[in-house]
């Protein structure tokens, strides 16, 4: 009973946060709502005894990915007016399509196909159950092949990112050249200029 209440509370917050992500005006607020939705999802996963996944979601997505995301949003000067142009014009069509999609999907993947009588709720594990142990025991045995492929995927992402961002601009690459830094002279960096002393304005203290 309590569990159901917690579930509905978390789900309610999740749906609210999810819809806020796509509707709020300020992209920083949207990112923060995304953090909230990640956090509540982690809570729902905890209800499913998946404590490791819940922790990873908070640590990796909230702690690292979203913070990076916020940096990017703050650094990019996004023109909100242009982005939101036509929002109200397309809103009725968008809502209509979203409602139709939702109805159609609920007919197919609703309770008639995935109700509790067809797909029973997962049973709770005992106190000695460890989610990490369960994951670890299959990750490097049963799923070792997909796991390795996923790691190659990340390697390709690194190669691609470096090739695209450095690529043809290898010569303008920013980096330190210690030997030049050591060999530098005072006269290369500092220039003394003779100039008349300036009188501060009378109204400034």
């Amino acid at each position: 009973m309590v569990e159901q209440l917690v579930f509905y509370a978390l789900s309610g917050i999740l749906v609210f946060a999810g819809s806020m992500v796509v509707t709020v005006r300020n992209p920083i607020h949207a990112a923060l709502f995304l953090v909230l939705s990640f956090f509540t999802t982690a809570g729902i996963w905890l209800l499913l005894d998946a404590e490791f996944l819940a922790m990873t979601l908070v640590l990796v997505y909230v702690g690292a990915v979203m913070v990076l995301f916020l940096f990017v949003i703050m650094m990019l000067d996004v023109n909100l007016v242009v982005l939101r142009e036509g929002f109200s014009r397309y809103l009725p069509v968008g809502i209509l399509i979203a409602v139709l999609l939702g109805l159609e999907l609920s007919m197919v993947v609703g309770a008639s196909q995935f109700g509790l009588d067809i797909v029973p709720a997962p049973a709770h594990h005992g106190a000695g159950y460890s989610n990490i142990e369960e994951l670890g025991s299959v990750l490097y045995t049963v799923y070792v092949y997909p796991f390795e492929i996923a790691s190659v995927l990340l390697l390709v992402a690194i190669v691609a990112a470096i090739a695209l961002s450095l690529g043809e601009h290898r010569k303008n690459r920013k980096g330190q050249r210690p030997e030049e830094q050591v060999a530098v002279n005072r006269k290369d960096r500092v220039r003394l200029v003779q100039m008349a002393a300036e009188r501060p304005d009378s109204d400034t203290p």
Binding site: V108, V109, Q113, F114, T141, V142, Y143, V144, Y145, P146, I149, A150, V152, L153, L155, V156, A157, V159, A160, I162, A163, L164, G167, E168
Partner: protein, 480 residues
């Protein structure tokens, strides 16, 4: 459960390819710019050795390993050998083009190798998870390859369009996979097949929705109408060697993806996906062949021609027999060979600052170089499906299998559209032989490139005269 050495053996070619790719990645960093050829030669050697390994491991029966997420079977081995062969040709054709444009960098070959690895994983995928990961590995490498020419706005635009639409397609495919998992509670292809039942006993509405999403996702990736919008822009905008690469080897992997998902996994729903493929095939044939007529850019025209050829490839799958699948496989291999030659010709005739990708650039080619005009004639007539070239046998075999299952009307429709398609292939022949050249410069291509492209085009003629061997390979791939 523990992994023994024998469990790794079926995947030896993939493991070798990955190890070499990582080695080349390190070698490439330390090799000075003027010895960049080392990266190229190592990549080519890797492809050759991998192909030899695949042939060495040619199986007599299907072998499953890595907890049934990897399958080594004859269809996969044949496709892998052709993927490696196509990539070898693609790297070869690209060398001079990239050098002339200051794009000759290790990343091109590295990303190419990783794309090949993705294709091999996809071809050998025996679980929805590995199929998806292979597809993503392939796609990710291809996005970067398209965008590699940073100074070209056309390439950057093509890369953006390709990336966004392909990412959307991945999402759709993944949603379909999740529905299939929801309906059958398994990711394994064989278990999926038995959960559905060989005659579709387990058919329900969730499975159907999953099937629709999977078919849409695959159609997106293959560029079948109505999910083809990105194909012409990508083909035109990407650097020609990249277009050549995307237009050949990944099509074979796409065929394998269709086979693994639809035939191996959801063979019981053949009636349902057969109807969807009929729709996709007719639309692809119509749009591909008719819109290609209006093109003035050869790369774009070949893009529409790809769309039409995907339509023909579907025909064998629609027939739904082992012979039909073999015919489709024959078709896709033949198509890749022809596309290889056609894009190779564009590269051969181009030089720095001149892409040679407009139809007008082929005007009067016969006066500039009768030999290359003849090779292009072979390629275009083969694409159009005229005997005695290889393209004719490809079309003939899929149509024969359609007639064998009493789908004469579909065969007639596709013949009508190939007659329409004949027009734009013949137009190039007319331009080459019956028009005056506007550009009189001699064809400047290095000797090895001339030999390769001649081999490529003459192979299409030779295999067209003796199509039995290649056909027999395709039929034997489905014999077990």
């Amino acid at each position: 459960m523990s992994l023994m050495l024998n469990d790794f053996l079926p995947a030896a070619p993939e493991i070798f390819l990955l190890s070499m790719a990582c080695l080349i990645l390190i070698v490439d960093v330390y090799v000075p710019e003027r010895y960049r050829l080392v990266t190229y030669q190592l990549s080519q050697a890797t492809l050759v050795v991998t192909a030899i390994l695949v042939m060495f491991l040619y199986p007599t029966e299907s072998v499953l390993t890595f907890s049934d997420s990897f399958v080594l079977d004859r269809m996969g081995s044949v496709l892998k050998v052709f993927v490696l062969l196509m990539t070898y040709f693609a790297f070869f054709y690209s060398k001079e083009y990239l050098r002339a444009r200051n794009l000759f960098k290790g990343e091109f070959y590295l990303l190419g190798l990783f794309a090949v690895l993705g294709m091999m994983v996809l071809i050998s995928g025996h679980s929805l998870l590995t199929l998806y990961l292979g597809l993503e590995l392939l796609s990710l490498a291809l996005y970067a390859l398209v965008a590699l020419h940073r100074d070209s706005t056309a390439a950057t635009e093509a890369a953006m369009k390709y990336f966004i639409l392909a990412a959307l397609a991945s999402g759709i495919l993944l949603y379909g996979i999740s529905l299939l998992y929801g309906a059958t509670a398994t990711l394994d292809i064989s278990e999926l097949h038995s959960a559905i039942g060989s005659e579709g006993e387990g058919r329900n509405i969730v499975l159907m929705l999953g099937l629709v999403f999977v078919v849409v996702g695959i159609a997106f990736k293959l560029g079948a109408v109505p999910f083809h919008m990105w194909v012409p822009d990508l083909y035109q905008g990407a650097p020609t060697p990249v277009t050549l690469f995307i237009g050949t080897a990944p099509k074979l992997a796409g065929f394998a993806m269709l086979m693994r998902f639809l035939v191996d996994g959801m063979g019981g729903l053949r009636g349902d996906w057969g109807d969807m493929l009929v729709l996709l095939a007719i639309l692809s044939l119509a749009v591909g062949n008719v819109v290609a007529i209006a093109q003035t850019n050869l790369k774009r025209m070949l893009g529409y021609s790809t769309i039409a050829h995907m339509g023909y490839m579907f025909l064998g799958l629609i027939a739904g027999t082992a012979a039909g699948y073999a015919a489709s496989m024959f078709y896709i291999i033949v198509y890749a060979l022809m596309a290889m030659g056609s894009f190779g010709m564009i590269i051969l005739l181009s030089r720095a600052g001149f892409e040679s990708d407009r139809l007008d650039d082929f005007r009067g080619l016969n006066e500039r170089s009768p030999w290359y005009a003849f090779l292009m004639l072979i390629l275009m007539l083969s694409m159009a499906g005229l005997p005695p070239f290889l393209g004719f046998w490809a079309k003939w075999s899929v149509l024969r299998e359609l007639v064998a299952v009493d789908m004469v009307w579909l065969a007639v429709v596709s013949v009508v559209f190939s007659l329409i398609g004949l027009f734009y292939y013949i137009r190039i022949v007319r331009l080459m032989y019956f028009e005056k050249p506007t550009d009189h410069s001699a064809v400047a291509a290095p000797g090895d490139m001339r030999v390769m492209i001649s081999t490529n085009a003459l192979a299409i003629l030779a295999l067209g005269l003796y199509p039995g061997a290649l056909m027999a390979v395709c039929i034997s791939a489905f014999a077990i």
